[in-house]
Structure formats: C-alpha cells, structure tokens
C-alpha cells in the first residue's frame, strides 16, 4: 500500500524551476531515500510536502487513518496532526528549552488543554501533562538521552541534538517521518549506528521513513527504494542496487572512482 504519493509536483522560485513535474510513491512501512546533487531540489520537495512552500502544481496524497488526503489542502502547522512529521537539515531545536520540553513540544497536538486549565491548574491538567511526560521519558530512554532530560538543548553536542530532533518527531505519534540529512556531520562509525537506529525506529514505531541523504553508505544500506533527482526532475527510481549501477546516476551524482 502506498503511504505517500507525490504527483506531478512543480515548484518555481521566480523564473527558476526548483521542482519540475516530479512524481514518486512511498510504500508504507518502507525506508525511502531521496538523493541528488546539491541544489537538485531535494529540500524543496520536503518543504513542499510539509507545506513550508506552496507548489504551483501537483498533488501530495497521504494515506492516513484509512483515508486519502491531499496535503496541499492543509496548512503547515496542521501537517503534524495528520501523522507526518519532519526534521530539518540544519538541526532546528528549541535551544533555550530543556531536552524534555523539546520533546513535549513534539506532543503539542496530543495535549488537549487551554490556557485557563493551564493557568489555574484546573482538574485534568495533571493527568494530560503526566501522560505526555511519561511518553517523552520513554522515548528519551529509547534514544539513550534520559539523563539529559533537564539540560538545555543548545548546550548539547551535535550528535545529541540530532537524536533529540528525531525524538521530538516521534513524540507527535507520526505514521511517516521525513528526515533531512540525518547523517550530516557524523563520521562513518556514527553513521553506522544511525542506520541501526533508523531500522529499529521503523520497526518499533511502525513507521514509514522518508529521507534525504548524501551519505551513500547509509542510503544504500537501509533504503528499500530510492528516487534520484537532478534539476528538480526525477532521473530514476529503484532499489539501491539498480541505482548504484545506473550510469546516469553515476555521472550526475556519484562520480567516478574514488581516485584523485
């Protein structure tokens, strides 16, 4: 079953066509990779799906809770509630908040209170808040960040910040997560650990994972299917093996041998 379908998406910036009639499908429960050179429009695709951008043409069909909806009918802040959550290329944490509070923001839509209930601590508040906190601690524990719960996010090392961003995404109880370069800035052994973690998250939380990544090690290792784009257009879609042997992809993206 298809979880997410991008159909004929086009996004222009002034005269520049950043995404050009792009279509692809993401299978439910898979790990799906989007790769391509810098400036090929990968992040633009992410931003269009998550409604930071308004694509001029196309549809983004998400299958959620048994029905099909077009994400382009929704606003940016409504997307998370539909079961789709994302991370950012340059880690976007809430730096002046604690690790735990960062997680709780992830559960924003799941805590149903209003400011009178909160301000006067009316009945029901504590229960809802505690549920969210328990869940946050569970996820932090899963990611190995439990000890850091009360520390400020921006005082954490880069690796922890990346994990935290992942944890925050999980707090919104997503069905599909979009990860923008999760391995950026990690060395090769750290990347290996990330691969394992992503597989574990997919299985543990029953998720579809859709990622943009430059680290071919990671992409080839864990992706079930990959779409390669350049100049906003799809070059090919296929399994890692098919991609690796494609001369077109070699030329546009991977480059030749590892010799200098």
């Amino acid at each position: 079953m298809k979880k997410l379908e991008v159909k004929n998406m086009t996004k222009r910036f002034g005269g520049l066509v950043a995404v050009d009639d792009l279509s692809f499908k993401v299978e439910e429960g898979s790990i799906f990779g989007l790769i391509g050179p810098n400036g090929a429009g990968k992040t633009t695709v992410f931003n269009s799906i998550t409604r930071f951008y308004n694509p001029e043409e196309g549809e983004v069909i998400l299958r959620t809770k048994g029905s099909k909806i077009d994400l382009l009918d929704y606003k940016t802040h409504q997307i998370a509630d539909l079961g789709l959550a994302r991370t950012f290329q340059n880690v976007e944490l809430f730096g002046k908040m604690t690790v735990l509070d960062n997680m709780l923001v992830g559960a924003h839509n799941n805590i149903k209170t209003n400011f009178l209930i909160e301000g006067f601590r009316l009945p029901g508040f504590k229960k809802k808040e505690n549920q969210a906190k328990t869940k946050a601690m569970e996820i932090l524990n899963f990611l190995g960040l439990k000890k850091l719960a009360h520390q400020f996010a921006d005082s954490q090392p880069y690796g922890v910040q990346k994990l935290l961003e992942l944890g925050r995404v999980l707090m919104s109880e997503p069905e599909i997560i979009l990860l923008d370069e999760p391995a950026a800035g990690m060395n090769d052994s750290e990347t290996d650990k990330l691969s394992d973690l992503l597989l574990k998250i997919r299985d543990e939380y029953n998720l579809t994972v859709f990622l943009v990544e430059h680290d071919m090690g990671l992409v080839m290792d864990i992706c079930d299917e990959i779409v390669v784009i350049n100049f906003g257009k799809s070059i090919m879609q296929g399994t890692p093996k098919e991609i690796q042997v494609s001369p077109e992809v070699q030329e546009a993206y991977l480059g030749g041998d590892d010799e200098f």
Partner: protein, 297 residues
C-alpha cells in the same frame, strides 16, 4: 493661489524631511554594521550640537571672521572624537551581548548623554543660525537658501555613503563585517576598526544633522526628541537595508506632515501621518526600498 500654498507646504516638508533623512542615515549606518539599534543617535547629535553651538558663540565673541565655519569644523572634529569614545567605552565592551542587550545599552546612553548635556550646558534654549541666513520671496512663496544647502548635503552624504559602501574595499569590508564579523576577521578584516570607524562616521553625520536642525528647533536638550523618532520611522519606512530608503522616507514624512497639517487637521496630524505610514509598512513590511530577506527552511 492654491497651487502656491500646496507648493509652499511641499517645499517646507522637503526641508524638514531632509533633516529627518540626515538623522536617519546615521542610524542606518550603525545598524547595518554593528547590529546596534542606536536609540541614542539623536541625543548624541544633540550633544554634538551643543558643543558646536558653544564653539560658534565663542568664536563669534572672540571676533573670529567665520564663526559658522569654525563651528562646522569644530562639529566634525568633536563628533569624530565623541563617536570614537562612545564606541570604545560603551559599545565595544558590550558587543557580545544580544541585540536586545545592545538596545538597552543605547537606552542607557540616552539617559547619560542627555543628563550630561543638561548638567554641562544647562537647560536653556539657544538660538543657532542657519548655514545660509535669510529667505527669498517669489510672489507669495518663501524659499530659504538654507533648505537647498540641507537637501544638497543630505544627497551628497547619501551618495558618498552609497559609493563607499558599494565600491571601495573598505565598503565591502563594512558589509562583510555586518553579515558575519567572525568570518570577516578570518579573512583579515580588522572588524574592530571597521566598527569604530562606522560609529565615528555616524556620529559625525549626527552632528551635521544637529547643526542643520538647530535653526528649526533652537539648541536645547530636547531638540532631537521628535526628530529622532521621525528619523527612525523614516529609516524603517524606507528600509533599513538601503541608503536611498531613509532619504525618501524622511522626505515623505516631512511633506505628509505639512499637507495633513494644512489640509486636514493639526490636532490629528501626528495620528493621521503615523497611521498612514504604519499602513504602508503593513503592505511593505521591509520598507519601500528594503531588501526582503530570504528565509531558508
């Protein structure tokens, strides 16, 4: 003679507006280079004007043949030193603080500079002459040569700034410092000197503005209050990222003020003019000539 009245109001507005523009250019320069919203720009200009006034009176009493020129030169020299000292003593030590922290430093400067001016120069109003005295009459129209001097000066300063910032190595260094002072340093730009220099320039521009404004306000500790606020609004209206913007913004405020005051109401003048400008800003949120920043997600 309705068109004459209209023209007279416009012309008066251009004169006052170019004063706002002069004052605004210094604010914009400092903001662009050191990220400081200098709320004390007006008070610093007031202080420089008091010094200039003192030089003017002193040299006139001493029988110096060109007291105004002496005062003008004195204004430039004093304000250069003044700007240097302010930057060195108050701005540089706090340059690591947040944007808001820097705002508070300049609020502190308002109190200090204004307070000191009152303590040193007293609280009386004083007369200061125009650069070119007198006025010329065309029928019912009155034109002051001083206006041309002020407008010309504003345009010259604007052009010099524009050229320097756009084309010289130092100008590129200023812009680079403004965007990312750490990397500018790594490229060999002496960013501290660049910042000090811009404060000196901006303070000198403030002093010139003060000297030009003084005939229209008298010299006293409150002389810049209204003009300073309007110069800020002019800068925002024109767009903080351009040098043409504040000039156009200043002229607009000056002219609008007079036209509303003449044709609509003097009581509601401020409300109407500011209201109109705010509506413009809502439609042009980065000012008329401001660059719209690109937001990266």
């Amino acid at each position: 003679m309705h068109w004459q009245i209209f023209l007279q109001n416009v012309f008066g507005g251009i004169e006052t507006g170019s004063l706002y523009a002069l004052a605004a250019l210094g604010v914009v320069l400092i903001y662009r280079v050191s990220d400081v919203t200098n709320f004390a720009q007006g008070e610093m200009a007031m202080f420089s004007t008091f010094v200039t006034y003192t030089i003017w009176v002193y040299s006139a009493n001493a029988g110096f043949p060109y007291p105004y020129i002496a005062a003008f030169i004195g204004a430039l020299i004093f304000s250069a030193i003044f700007g240097f000292l302010i930057e060195r003593i108050f701005i540089r030590p706090t340059s690591d603080s947040s944007l808001l922290g820097k705002m508070i430093v300049t609020l502190g400067l308002i109190l200090m500079v204004n307070g000191s001016a009152g303590a040193i120069f007293g609280t009386d109003s004083h007369y200061m002459q125009r650069a070119i005295t007198g006025h010329i009459r065309f029928g019912n129209m009155i034109i002051r040569p001083h206006s041309f001097f002020v407008i010309g000066l504003a345009i010259v300063i604007m052009l010099v700034l524009f050229y320097m910032i756009k084309f010289t190595m130092f100008g590129v260094a200023i812009r680079a410092t403004a965007q990312n002072d750490k990397v500018a340093k790594l490229m060999g730009v002496p960013t501290k000197k660049v910042t000090a220099f811009t404060w000196i320039m901006a303070t000198m521009m403030g002093a010139i503005a003060g000297l030009m404004i003084a005939p229209a306000t008298n010299v006293y500790t409150g002389m810049m209050a209204d003009i300073h606020l309007k110069s800020f609004i002019a800068a925002v209206l024109g767009g903080f990222t351009s040098f043409v913007g504040p000039v156009i913004g200043g002229l607009m405020i000056g002219i609008l003020d007079n036209l509303v005051g003449y044709y609509i109401s003097t009581n509601w003048q401020t409300v109407i003019v500011y209201g109109f400008l705010i509506i413009i800003l809502i439609f042009k949120p980065y000012g008329l000539f401001g660059e719209i920043p690109k937001k990266k997600v």
